[in-house]
Amino acid sequence: MIRESAIRIPFRYAAGAAGSRFLAALRDQQRILGARCAACARVLVPLRAFCPVCGSETLDTVEVGPGGTLQTWTTRADGTVFAVILLDGASSGLVHRLLDGGEEACCGLRVRARFATERRGGILDIAGFEPAQGGAT
């Protein structure tokens, strides 16, 4: 005997100080913020409270992108394309979506963030990334 039962619960997740600044910058300024680690000099994207590599909490805010390079991507059966993008000026990749079906996708492809017209303070304020002028480098 099988019974189907659903769970319907609304959750709300605090973005924290660093996350809130990152999302607010997307929403209000269409800028992508990263954090430069004072200890290991890596530029981490998205902005965060501590360096995941060396653990340091001393981070300076820097602007990165909106252009970047495709590090990897994958296409799902429904056509959604996910990608890891190394934004210009960053040392860590940003996981996001690739727009336009990803037909040109290849590692090293130059891409550029396209911001959503209606922005609400979430990671999808970047609608996704699309191939930039100039194609692969």
């Binding site: 019974r3 039962s5 769970i7 619960i9 609304p10 959750f11 709300r12 997740y13 605090a14 973005a15 924290g16 100080a17 996350g19 409270a49 501590f50 995941p52 590599v53 653990g55 909490e57």
Partner: protein, 384 residues
Amino acid sequence: MNPVAVIGTGQTRHARARDDASQPDLVREAAARAIEDAGIRARDIDAVVIANMELFEGRAWPELWVGEAAFAAGKPCLKVATGGTSGTSGCIAGFHQVASGLFDIVLVVGFEKHSEGHTQTGMTLTDPYWDRAVASGAVGNFALSVSQYMADRGVTELQAALVAVKARRNAVRNPHAHLQMPGITVEEVLASRLLAHPLRLLDMCPQSDGACAIVVAAGERARKLHPRPAWVRAAATRHEQPYIGDIDRRLVTMRTLRDAAREAYADAGIREPLKELDVAEIYEPVSYAELAWYEALGFCAEGEAGRLIEDGVTEMDGELPVNPSGGVLSTNPVGASGVIRVAEAALQIHGRGGARQVEGARTALATGYGVYAWADVIVLADRP
């Protein structure tokens, strides 16, 4: 178990909603403080244990997201969850991992962000053929058991209110405590909103956002790193039939807590807990539960719990101060609550309790409580 000790503790500011902090932020806040308190650096940590009830926040494998914040990236890290005892289970897991010889130093971090989900609903996600249709959450279930406990033991609403007042008065001396209610009176407790007969708002624990961490070290390292390590003298766990209706008058019998305490006292060489323990941090989600735990923990004979609170035996200036921190009744981030009990007990042994320090505390008890009658009992002392 081989000798291990708690050498550092750290807690966040606990509050109804920590909208200013993400789950990783909370974890980092507690973990960083524990490391600082232990006088070690993050790279000294060999492994991490996380305690959290993931479905309260709608998460699966929450350590995947918060692990980095707990300094666990690139290190061994496991997540423990056993309902309300998650925090004490996590601490005991840390004790075992150090005692095994695998690690010298383990960080245990418990956290919960109730404000991000619906905890009372989360608690009803039990057997879909049974409980889910007749669920009334923690308040209703406790009220049922309290009705039996009152009938059996003749405990009064006034005696329970004394427990509620004691907790909040103690909390005033604890800067980390969530509820700050200076000057709270028995009358206020008895006049507070009825949640589920006979439980009133001020009989219940709050729901808190918060995290707590402890640093556990192996014998030799503990001696080198800390002037007064809190040695783990005993750690006992008992789980129980998980359906409330299967356990006969659970608050009255509480055989899990009785049995775990018996084992822990034997391991720690304690014969008369009321005399030999200097302080206790017990997991009391409801005022009445503290009275029931007094009996199960052997602080008094059966039916004598009401007298114990009336006589002030468990007040700060009594023979055995219970919950100088303000207890779960003042602060309850579920996955952290058990860790807080252990951290507060360790703090007393360390002599770093500040305004809530019990003078000269050498032996401390910490307990965990979860599901309907799951129990953990831990004894810490200033000597191995």
